[in-house]
């Protein structure tokens, strides 16, 4: 399956980078993670703030869906969240912006090793997939509520 266009661009960039630059790009994304927090006055269709066993600190995922069914994610991260999780937050907020809920749910997770490298996936598997799982989770809740409201 193809990835959404913005995510495809990010994946292509990472695939073209040698290991040191890939690492540097991950750090840049991680450093920018705080910019993905909700902005002053923003409202959301769903909010899900919780501390899971799989993550070292609290993560809040906020979902806004436009009238054209375009998703926008915002994410808050507790201070103990690991660097890779921070990087994946920035990558996914950017890469999934504008997708429909259905597209978000259908995204295969196989892009993750293309971004972070197979070694890191093997070593830190819980970290690299966590944010994607949370984003899919909140999107599925939104879709289920929409379906329930129609019946």
């Amino acid at each position: 399956m193809e990835y959404p266009e913005k995510l495809t661009q990010i994946v292509s960039l990472f695939e073209s980078l040698p290991a040191p630059e890939k690492r540097e790009s991950l750090i840049s994304y991680a450093t920018a993670a705080a910019k993905n927090a909700p902005r002053e006055g923003e409202s959301f269709d769903l909010e899900d703030v919780r501390k899971d066993e799989e993550c070292t600190d609290t993560v809040g995922v906020f979902l806004k869906i436009s009238s054209t069914r375009a998703c926008e994610f915002r994410v808050t991260l507790g201070p103990q969240v690991q660097t890779l999780t921070k990087a994946m937050t920035s990558i996914l907020c950017k890469g999934l912006a504008g997708c429909t809920p259905e597209e978000v749910l259908e995204i295969p997770a196989d892009f993750v090793p293309k971004i972070v490298g197979a070694d890191l996936v093997r070593q830190r598997s819980q970290t690299v997939y966590y944010i994607l799982t949370r984003m899919k989770g909140i999107t599925k809740v939104w879709l289920n509520r929409q379906r329930a409201a129609r019946h």
Partner: protein, 285 residues
């Protein structure tokens, strides 16, 4: 140096001591973390990064690198046999203690821990840099062999220890010890088939050795925890274990350097070996 009546007070240094030795050519700072990319986001000036898995462990077999590979690692980081290596890291110095224990495994003598680790340094708003230092290659003569016999325990030795009723310390969380979970709180299940603990082991979670800020408790407090409560005695042959040997390295450091125990071994196979081993005896509850 820190004086809390420790057996070897010079094994611990303060953040202030580190800040005063940033340009000391005889001292090398080593950052070792659980968070693989944390060093790259910023580290203490002059600190090198040593990763427990990529640098210290063999990449195929579950074991450590050879003495020759260890010597090459040290030389790459400008570390010679006489260099004083000061370790620090995240998670209250779990991986820093693991790296220190591994350095001792290869016979490196001059090792220290920065009390409180990376969080304390950051909490004091001390400077971090992203500049990766480059040092003149060190001259490191590899040890003839690792000191496995002295400070490392293997499954058979831990089993014999258990059967003989000798001192075994399980430093995992109470839930792991009781067999209710097979992983640390906040961590995923990582492939252990059985939960519980080694028969006869005493539960002394690693965290009991540190204060809220991640610094070690005083010798008197540690004495109360390990000796009065857990029943350890100086002179005993003690084996500590956890899940993969990192938290038990922390306790190994406490018992060896802060309380002065002479015969402490870290069972680095720990629960990921014991809990998967066919026929290994297990206690629960």
């Amino acid at each position: 140096m820190i004086d809390k009546n420790y057996a070897q007070p010079d094994a611990l240094v303060t953040t202030q001591w580190v800040s005063e030795h940033l340009s000391d050519s005889g001292v090398r700072l080593v950052e070792s973390n659980e968070d693989y990319l944390l060093y790259d986001t910023g580290h203490i000036q002059g600190a090198v990064h040593i990763d427990w898995r990529a640098d210290l462990q063999d990449q195929t077999i579950r074991d450590y690198v050879s003495p020759k590979q260890f010597a090459e690692l040290c030389e790459r980081h400008g570390i010679s046999n006489e260099t004083t290596v000061v370790f620090y890291g995240d998670k209250s110095n779990w991986w820093a203690c693991y790296a220190l224990w591994t350095f001792r495994l290869f016979g490196h003598e001059k090792v220290k821990i920065m009390d409180g680790g990376r969080d304390k340094w950051v909490g004091e708003n001390r400077h971090l840099t992203r500049a990766v230092p480059h040092f003149v290659k060190g001259r490191y003569t590899p040890a003839a062999e690792r000191r496995d016999v002295e400070i490392r325990a293997f499954y058979d030795q831990a089993l014999a220890h258990s059967r003989a009723g000798h001192a075994l310390i399980d430093v995992r969380s109470p839930g792991e010890f009781r067999g209710e979970i097979t992983h640390m709180p906040e961590y995923p299940q990582e492939g252990v088939l059985r939960g519980g603990h080694v028969p006869g082991a005493a539960s002394v979670p690693w965290k009991m050795a540190v204060k809220e800020d991640g610094t070690f408790k005083s010798a008197a407090e540690l004495h109360a925890i390990y000796e009065e409560e857990a029943g350890l005695m100086r002179g005993q042959d003690v084996i500590a274990y956890c899940r993969i040997g990192e938290r038990s390295s922390h306790t190994w450091f406490v018992l060896t350097y802060l309380l002065g125990y002479k015969n402490v071994r870290n069972y680095d196979g720990s629960w990921t070996e014991w809990g998967n081993r066919v026929g290994a005896p297990i206690e629960r509850g």
